[in-house]
């Protein structure tokens, strides 16, 4: 630590830290643009100038850029010095020369870092009288808007997109006063983290296109802290509403998880909440497999009759429903009649994941810990598709070696260009043993095309070699390289996942991690689960597997299906039979093929309209809070279950989400209530938390076309938040209850630093969420057994490929994601394809699936293996073990982005 002085006041910071970061960590106001906590310093904007003095006798000093000045013992600087202040004001004057005066119509207005810095430095009179430069903008696809005239050339966009996220299609073009940031030619930004440009750009060059399409002012949003439903990482988000519609989701900082960035599936996948396919009112299936809205009171009678009848009642939960709703359903039907709703294979693999979490023998890393790995082996799971934020962390992990090299050369770790230039392509080793080319390949040391089953065998062999129970691999092979690197490493990371539904793969990955730990390493094991609450749902337990539940249905019973489309959990034939023979009550957010076949469908609240808890891949329970009150008859699923219980005359013992959460704590989820405070929480003992900003406008006017009376704010009995701008949000409250960031003078998301203990440190009151101990589940609940292999025959072994856009159920119904969704495809090694006479873009009949799809060629596929797009909307999504393939000359290629039709019938 070093003591240093800013304007005569003594502070302390880590010696060598850059002064800008140190000053911001003290919550001082010092303008900046090009610096970013995750991107380091490059010294491009010159906005953070301070006066630096030689010693205490130096009264004049000289201007220094804080971001490029290392803190050292006795350093003396001034932010307030008039010369420094005047220089900073001049920098703004320079930047504003060409900036358009379009703030009133700009998507960024009111949340613009450039606006804030302009006001902060005091620049107000324009002296520049030459013409402004103008640009032609590009159509960058469905996610990102582009308005280059607003650019202030801070270089943050390319530094994030290319340097940090590995994107290759955004560049800095031109030179001098004519710098252009865009693509070589117009087209969709391909990198899956493009949405972060919206937050990284300090002004309105890169904007959230779906948000802008139905624009509202940022200060008119009503927000709450939420958790992403896109995958099992559980990135923290802010969800924001206006006029009864969820308008946007953006990053909610979490030091251990998502940090400053989320992926595009998370950011743009939320528009399903506003979909016209929402179930907004109770309805029934009318026999031919279509769904008809009837009004909730009418269908509730049918539902009540079903739960009251003597017919057996079972419940099928869901990995995309909250822990609370799952536990409520399990209570309603009884543990022996409850299935957590995962596909058999998924349940078995997820169980292995939970067993790994409970085991002391390996460490399940946070996303931040992933970045500290010094060797990585990815086994059988394309993590870039199934847990993108973790893949982004892997990109940073391999950079670890560059910081060591920089330190040796005396280059500060925050001096980004210097560190990158010095290290060049030196990386920590990352090995990929998967079927199909991963987007991480550009940073991999070596890859080997492997079917997941073979990857499992490979991991077991590796574990034995590391344990010395087996002879070393033949020198020069991929296996020999991997084992040598792992043997050399200090903090190796084994990565796998449950997407393949292969429990033995997860076990093998765990065995490898354990053998590395026994070999004295700080080994880590990252296993991605399939869905936002796969781990939580699995931990709810219950006696029934999916197969057993479907069998019970086929025998004839009543069933409550909680936010689940059974066609995604088992093959269509079995689901059809089960739905036909049983009386089905579905509560769900969107119309699904299952809801179409239901006797009763009830409108369930989405994540944005309800409060609950998800459990992520590391068993971290995270609370999401209701953003807004949905219109119509929509209720959270757990509330429907309460209604059904009272119809049946039983008392559930809860009548609020808070009480239900406490019940969960008693049923295997000990500690879950600490994921976030309940309804009686008040900041400083008195104040609710305001969902609306204090500048929220139009409360009296926004519904004036309906009534001129100011509607009374709804009282929220479920949470500690208020549907109002009255309330606290200083960042000093419980960190799980921060609905948005704002601080005087800092209207943009850059105000975050005022809410952090220090830059990139935890929130003021610590980071939200609580890691649960799953041992209760392991002791008390039935363990799912490994799925039996499907008895399919054929020349090719198949492997499901889960495209990032389209393979997650709900985001696949979000219109911007639909535009990026691939049409169904099959991936083959070029040699296999040539042998069968298949060509890229042509048609192939996949006999085990019984339909044709587009051929893609990938030399990263093992010969004899076919990758089949999985998880896309439709009914035939179950992976098959083997299949034959034949050319389909009749095949007509669908355009990507237009499959958003749900198969019916």
């Amino acid at each position: 630590m070093a003591k240093f002085f800013i304007d005569g006041v003594e502070y302390e910071a880590k010696a060598g830290e850059n002064l800008l970061q140190a000053a911001l960590s003290q919550h001082l106001d010092l303008p900046y643009f090009c610096w970013h906590p995750s991107l380091g310093s490059v010294g491009a904007c010159r906005q953070c100038a301070v006066v630096e003095y030689r010693d205490e006798n130096d009264k004049k000093g000289r201007l220094s850029m804080a971001c490029l000045t290392g803190v050292r013992e006795g350093l003396r600087v001034s932010i307030a010095n008039s010369r420094a202040a005047d220089f900073r004001k001049t920098v703004i004057e320079w930047l504003m020369q060409n900036h358009p005066h379009d703030c009133p119509v700009c998507e960024e207005g009111g949340e613009c870092h450039l606006q804030d810095m302009t006001v902060m430095t005091g620049h107000s009179v324009r002296r520049y009288r030459q013409a402004k430069r103008t640009w032609q903008n590009q159509d960058l696809g469905p996610f990102i808007g582009h308005e280059m005239n607003r650019c202030i050339t801070c270089y943050r966009c390319v530094r994030f997109y290319a340097d940090y996220a590995g994107g290759t299609d955004l560049g800095a073009f031109g030179s001098r006063g004519r710098m252009y940031f865009g693509r070589v030619s117009e087209g969709t930004l391909e990198n899956e983290f493009s949405g972060n440009l919206v937050e990284v750009c300090p002004t309105g060059v890169f904007t959230d296109k779906p948000f802008a399409k139905q624009y509202t002012r940022k200060w008119d949003l009503q927000s709450s802290p939420s958790v992403c439903t896109g995958c099992s990482v559980g990135c923290n988000t802010f969800a924001a509403e206006r006029y009864g519609q969820l308008r946007r989701v953006h990053n909610r900082y979490h030091a251990d998880l998502n940090g400053y960035f989320i992926c595009d599936r998370g950011r743009f996948g939320m528009h399903f909440v506003n979909s016209d396919k929402r179930i907004r009112m109770g309805g029934v299936g009318v026999g031919d497999g279509t769904f008809e809205a009837r009004g909730t009171e009418r269908v509730l009678e049918t539902a009540s009759a079903l739960v009251r009848s003597d017919q057996a009642l079972i419940g099928i939960g869901s990995p995309r429903a909250s822990v609370e709703s799952n536990v409520a359903l399990k209570w309603l039907v009884g543990s022996e009649n409850f299935c957590p709703g995962l596909a058999d294979a998924d349940a078995a693999a997820t169980h292995e994941l939970i067993a790994s979490i409970a085991s002391d023998a390996c460490c399940i890393p946070t996303i931040a810990e992933i970045e500290r790995a010094d060797a990585v082996l990815v086994l059988g799971e394309d993590i870039a598709d199934t847990a993108p934020r973790a893949a982004l962390a892997l990109r940073q992990a391999v950079r670890g070696v560059s910081f060591a090299m920089a330190q040796e050369a005396g280059i500060p770790h925050w001096q980004d260009a210097g560190v990158r230039g010095h290290a060049q392509d030196h990386r920590h080793p990352l090995f990929i043993a998967c079927a199909g080319t991963s987007r991480l390949e550009d940073v991999a040391e070596a890859t080997e095309a492997m079917h997941p089953e073979d990857a499992a065998t490979f991991a077991l062999d590796l574990a034995e070699v590391i344990a010395g129970k087996r002879e070393a691999f033949e020198p020069g092979t991929f296996a020999a390289r991997v084992s040598a690197v792992l043997a050399d490493s200090k903090a190796p990371l084994v990565v796998s996942g449950t997407s393949q539904g292969n429990a033995s793969l997860v076990r093998a990955a765990r065995d490898l991690a354990v053998s590395l730990k026994i070999a004295g390493k700080q080994s880590m094991l990252l296993v991605a689960a399939r869905e936002a609450n796969s781990v939580g749902a699995c931990m709810v337990g219950g006696s029934l597997s999916m197969s057993e539940a479907l069998a019970r249905m086929a025998d004839g019973c009543s069933v409550v299906v909680l936010e689940n489309d059974l066609y995604r959990r088992a093959d269509a034939g079995r689901v059809n039979a089960a739905l036909r023979a049983s009386s089905v009550i579905v509560m769900d957010v969107l119309e699904t093929p299952t809801a179409d076949g239901a006797s009763v469908a009830l409108p369930a609240a989405s994540f944005a309209e309800s409060t609950g808890t998800y459990v992520n891949y590391e068993c971290r329970a995270q609370r999401f809070y209701q953003t807004f009150q949905p219109e119509g008859e929509i209720l959270p699923s757990w509330a429907w279950i309460s209604r059904l219980a009272s119809e049946r005359g039983s008392d559930p013992g809860w009548d609020s989400i808070e009480q239900l959460t406490r019940q969960c704590a008693e049923q295997g989820f000990a500690g879950i209530e600490q994921a976030g405070p309940g309804s009686d929480y008040r900041f400083a003992g008195i104040s609710r938390i305001a969902r609306q900003t204090h500048r929220y406008s139009g409360r009296t006017a926004m519904y004036a076309d309906e009534t001129v009376h100011e509607p009374k704010s709804r009282i929220d009995s479920e949470t500690a938040f208020a549907y109002s701008m009255e309330g606290a949000n200083s960042g000093r409250q419980a960190s799980a209850t921060i609905p948005y960031v704002w601080s005087p003078g800092w209207n943009s998301n850059q105000s975050l630093f005022k809410f952090q203990q220090e830059i990139s440190g935890p929130w003021m009151q610590g980071d939200p969420g609580v890691r649960l101990d799953p041992s209760w589940y392991l002791r008390h609940e039935a363990h799912p057994s490994d799925a039996e292999s499907l008895a399919a025959e054929g020349e090719f072994r198949s492997v499901p490929i889960f495209p990032l856009f389209g393979s997650e159920e709900q985001s696949a119904r979000s219109w911007p994601i639909v535009r990026r969704m691939p049409a169904p495809f099959a991936v083959l090694h070029p040699q296999d394809a040539a042998r069968l006479g298949l060509v890229e873009g042509g048609g192939v009949a996949v006999l085990a699936v019984g339909r044709s799809c587009e051929v893609r060629l990938d030399a990263g596929m093992p010969p004899g293996v076919v990758g089949i797009a999985a998880g896309l909307p439709g009914k035939d999504v179950q992976p098959h073990c083997r299949t034959d393939l034949s050319p389909d000359p009749e095949f007509v290629r669908k355009m990507d982005g237009e499959p958003g039709v749900i198969a019916r019938g």
């Binding site: 490059v42 930047l95 020369q97 030459q130 050339t153 001098r176």
Partner: protein
């Protein structure tokens, strides 16, 4: 004293009748003897010590002691690079072009010795893109030297090997800045790097790298061959050696001359350049290219060396001066210069990227009669905040502001009268 002993850079060219010196002629004038002495008979540190002692200072403009720079290269395993900066884009400067066009082997020999001194295995000549003739002649020299075994594997039968290549620049002034040059060489955007790391520690592709100017490297062979004392005695003042001086502007005989370091300005203008043409009166000079401060009448008797010119408030820079006579409007000249510098900004940091076009725009307004009260304050503000070293990312804008701030100081009345009268008095009715 032989011609070569008096003029180590250009003597051989003169001896053979002002033709390009290729291998036969070069060997006839003791060519490659210095390289042989260094590579086969000296320790690398001995070479560095000798160059230090000789007080050879970088001829690219900054005047940093060359031997000291070489001494910064760490003794580490692996690849090291020597890069010759031949990206000669300073307005009014054409000395490196002369050296490469007429004495290319001198550069090759200098690079062999320098590479040996820092134990670099790879060397590049980063050449201005438009220098086609120099490129062809240098390529021929490299071919000839390779054929003789002076380049390539095991030079002169020693353990030392050197791979020397030419890289033609894509063409930006900023690529003459050594770290921007390295970025461009690596195939990246030609924009400067932050220091630290300095190139000797981490330069091209993250490896130890020395970047030297063409003229600097051309000085090396004779220091090795003829000795430190001889070299130090060549200079007229405290700086050593000879310098290629140049004069452009309305003089009778514009051109380049190799002269003892420290030759007075007046001698350069009156004797070598033949004095002013058509009775024009000399008002100011930019002593070392466009990015140096104006010197005026009171300075014309000064010696052209690093210390003296620095003391007078300017820089010797490249030593090739641009003269401004009384027929040239200082406002128009400033506008022209600022246009150049604004065009050549790499676009990385704000003051340079945005400030220089503003300055150019204001100067254009003043020159075109649209000047307003307060414009000189805007210029002064920009000059102050762009010009202070450290305010910008590199020294491009600092250099750009030098002629402007000195013009505002020495020729202020011209600026004021433009604004006052709303026109440029240097313009005749016809123009």
């Amino acid at each position: 004293m032989s011609l070569q002993e008096r003029l180590p850079l250009s003597g051989r060219v003169e001896e053979i009748g002002n033709r390009p010196v290729f291998m036969t002629d070069y060997l006839g004038g003791a060519g490659y003897e210095a390289a042989r002495i260094a590579v086969t008979g000296m320790d690398p540190n001995e070479v560095i010590a000798k160059v230090k002692e000789a007080n050879l200072r970088g001829r690219g403009g900054a005047g940093f002691p060359t031997g000291v720079k070489w001494g910064f290269v760490p003794d580490v395993e692996g690849v090291k690079y020597l890069v010759c900066n031949g990206d000669e884009m300073e307005p009014g400067t054409f000395k490196d072009r002369y050296l490469i066009e007429y004495n290319p082997h001198l550069l090759v020999e200098g690079m062999i010795i320098a590479a040996f001194a820092i134990q670099a295995q790879k060397a590049y000549v980063f050449l201005r893109g438009e220098y086609h003739v120099p490129r062809r002649r240098l390529a021929r020299a490299i071919e000839e030297a390779s054929a003789k075994g002076f380049l390539g594997e095991r030079i002169f039968g020693s353990d030392f090997s050197l791979d020397l290549r030419i890289h033609s620049s894509g063409g930006r002034y900023i690529c003459g800045e050594e770290t921007a040059l390295l970025n461009a060489l690596e195939g990246k955007r030609g924009q400067p790097r932050t220091r630290p790391p300095f190139p000797p520690a981490s330069g091209a592709w993250g490896r130890p790298t020395i970047v030297n100017n063409v003229e600097t490297l051309c000085n090396v062979p004779s220091i090795i061959r003829l000795g430190v004392d001889w070299y130090r005695n060549l200079g007229l003042t405290s700086d050593s050696g000879t310098k290629i001086y140049g004069v452009s502007g309305k003089v009778n005989n514009p051109g380049l001359w190799e002269l003892p370091m420290g030759t007075p300005i007046r001698e350069l203008v009156e004797e070598h350049a033949g004095g002013m043409r058509n009775g024009h009166k000399l008002r100011g000079i930019l002593p070392g290219g466009a990015s140096t401060d104006f010197l005026v009448e009171e300075h014309f008797d000064l010696s052209m060396d690093y210390e003296t010119i620095q003391a007078a408030g300017s820089r010797m820079g490249t030593g090739t001066m641009i003269l401004m006579d009384d027929s040239i409007c200082p406002v128009d000249l400033s506008r022209n210069l600022q246009h150049f510098f604004a065009q050549e900004s790499c676009g990385f940091c704000t003051p340079c990227r945005e400030g220089l076009p503003w300055v150019e725009g204001v100067l254009a307004d003043i020159e075109e009669g649209r000047g307003q009260e307060g414009d000189l304050d805007v210029l002064a503000l920009n000059a102050e905040y762009i010009g202070d070293p450290g305010n910008t990312f590199c020294l491009h804008a600092t250099g750009a502001i030098e002629p402007l701030q000195s013009a505002l100081k020495y020729f202020r009345e011209d600026f004021e009268s433009h604004i006052r009268t709303g026109k440029c008095s240097y313009r005749t009715e016809a123009s």
